[in-house]
Amino acid sequence: MSIAKPRGSIFSYVLAAIFSVVAIFPFLWMALSSVKPLQELYSVPPTWIPSHFSLENYVNVLYHSNIPRYFLNSVVISVGSTSIALILAILAAYGFARFRFRGRNALQASILISQLLPTATIIVPLYVILSNLGLINTYIGLIMTYLIHTLPLCVWLLISYFRSIPYEIEEAALIDGASRLTILWKIVLPLSVPGIISTVVYCFVSTWNEFIFALVFATDSSVKTLPVGLAEFSAEFKTDWGAVMAASIIMTLPIIILFFAIQRMFVSGITAGATKG
């Protein structure tokens, strides 16, 4: 006999419909607004489906604004920070998962706790430090700063992943005289590809979306990231909401694509890490 989960009633369908509409509506409205010509955007009552499909807003954003440059800056900073975090986190997570040493649990817990630190409590001294080092308005300044977010997260996710790999395989290689680094590189990492992919995506997304550090540490348009650009754009073009919506879509699309490409893996990775922790 199969064990069936409780079946949904009509009520479930109504509720599911309400939740879905609420969740997707702002996103749909943003997409619809981004392809409306100006006079339709500012019409009362508003039209639901644009009567004239227009790419004018996208042309404005892509050719007459700094958004493409900010997009490039965001890519460089997110990729840079995620890569550094990943390398350091793979080593650290392997150390925590496979070695016993004094203070291990305390150090591991402190990494978890450091992730809970509110941004506001360290933004002032970080600004002072970065400006003393001449790292304000540089890529490297933001890349380093974002390690605060990405590194603890990567370590956290990867520890639980490495622990799930059976140790016997590594023992066999150790007996054959392989070094720890070789084992990590040749055995553990190939077995951890799904875990590493979801870790990378999570880090990339969190740096891509970060706003407040970028607002303070990147004030020059040569390093400004997309979130800061978007905030500035919506203040500067107060009247041009179509362009703001187009820029929002441009910023959101890479994230949506990434997430849905790996949705299944991602959800199980995050919930496993969180419920165990």
């Binding site: 079946r7 955007l41 508003p46 392997y94 630190l117 360290i122 002032v124 978007l230 959800v267």
Partner: protein, 290 residues
């Protein structure tokens, strides 16, 4: 013999990451302490910065706003997220699609949520005023983000929209761990759906809700982005929360020392809250194990 050989290799693996984190987190934290007890010339001034910032008229208002905003977000995100999680745990046609759709708010960058909702809340051309007027809930357009009494509830709505999917996912993951024979036993005893929720689901997801509450609390204190871009703390500081006050002290009034003092107070309060919560959940876990 190579001296590195004598060190436990575990330390070598974890050292680089710990060093970077110490440099980026511990050192700035220590620096916050120094800044908060000194003046711009570097002289020790005792508790002057604390007294000046805590005594300012803005601080009590910002504290009240923070509790209102973070508390409101947590309550509604937990309630809606739990309902959505229980819903997704049931079998119905299109469940996978609904689950994907519910992920959207959580995935959309905060800044994009802020610009989109600001446009939806627009006084003249916003879709929210239009919809509410056409179904007769309001009879004239409302200035959601510029009216003192409406701004906090409006911002809470945005944050809840962004956060409830996360709660739903965590609740769903936890519910899927319930042994289905429990439901069958309940069915045999003639339990209604409500009884299952009350006596099987809620007790099972309680620990998850506790950790989610803690996360929402921390994210709430980090949630500068939405408020800062939508209202900047206005109108008349009605949506100014403590993290934004710190930000403004530092980067609009350029008073790093007062900002550091306020950061330190906020840090200590949050730290105590986090430790208390962790201790309580640890105790509960121990008592379950026994």
């Amino acid at each position: 013999m190579n001296p590195l050989r004598r060190i436990n290799p575990g330390y070598l693996f974890v050292f680089p990451a710990l060093f970077v984190l110490a440099a980026m987190i511990l050192y700035p934290l220590a620096d916050t302490v120094v800044l908060s007890f000194t003046d711009p010339s570097g002289a020790f001034v005792g508790t002057d910065n604390f007294r000046s910032v805590l005594g300012s008229r803005t601080t009590p208002l910002a504290t009240y706003n923070t509790i209102y905003y973070v508390g409101g977000t947590i309550i509604f995100a937990i309630i809606l997220g739990t309902i959505a999680g229980i819903l997704l745990d049931r079998q119905f046609f299109g469940r996978g699609a609904v689950r994907s759709i519910l992920l959207i708010p959580w995935v959309v960058p905060s800044i994009v949520a802020a610009t989109t909702w600001a446009w939806m809340f627009h006084y003249e051309f916003g879709i929210i005023n239009y919809l509410l007027m056409s179904i007769g809930i309001i009879d004239k357009p409302m200035g959601w983000l510029i009216t003192a009494d409406l701004v906090k509830p409006s911002l809470i709505a945005v944050d809840v929209w962004k956060m409830f999917p996360f709660v739903a996912l965590m609740v769903l993951a936890s519910l899927q761990g319930i042994d289905s024979t429990l439901y069958e036993a309940a069915k045999v005893d003639g339990a209604k759906f409500w009884h299952e929720v009350r006596y099987i689901m809620l007790p099972h997801i309680a620990p998850v809700l506790a950790s989610v509450t803690l996360l929402l609390l921390i994210w709430g204190f980090n949630g500068i982005t939405i408020i800062y871009t939508m209202t900047g703390g206005g109108p008349a500081n009605r949506s100014l929360i403590l993290p934004i006050q710190i930000f403004k002290e530092a980067f609009e009034h350029f008073d790093f020392h007062r900002a550091a003092a306020l950061s330190l107070v906020l840090f200590v309060v949050l730290f105590v809250v986090i430790l208390t919560q962790l201790a309580i959940s640890q105790k509960r876990r121990d008592s379950v194990d026994r």
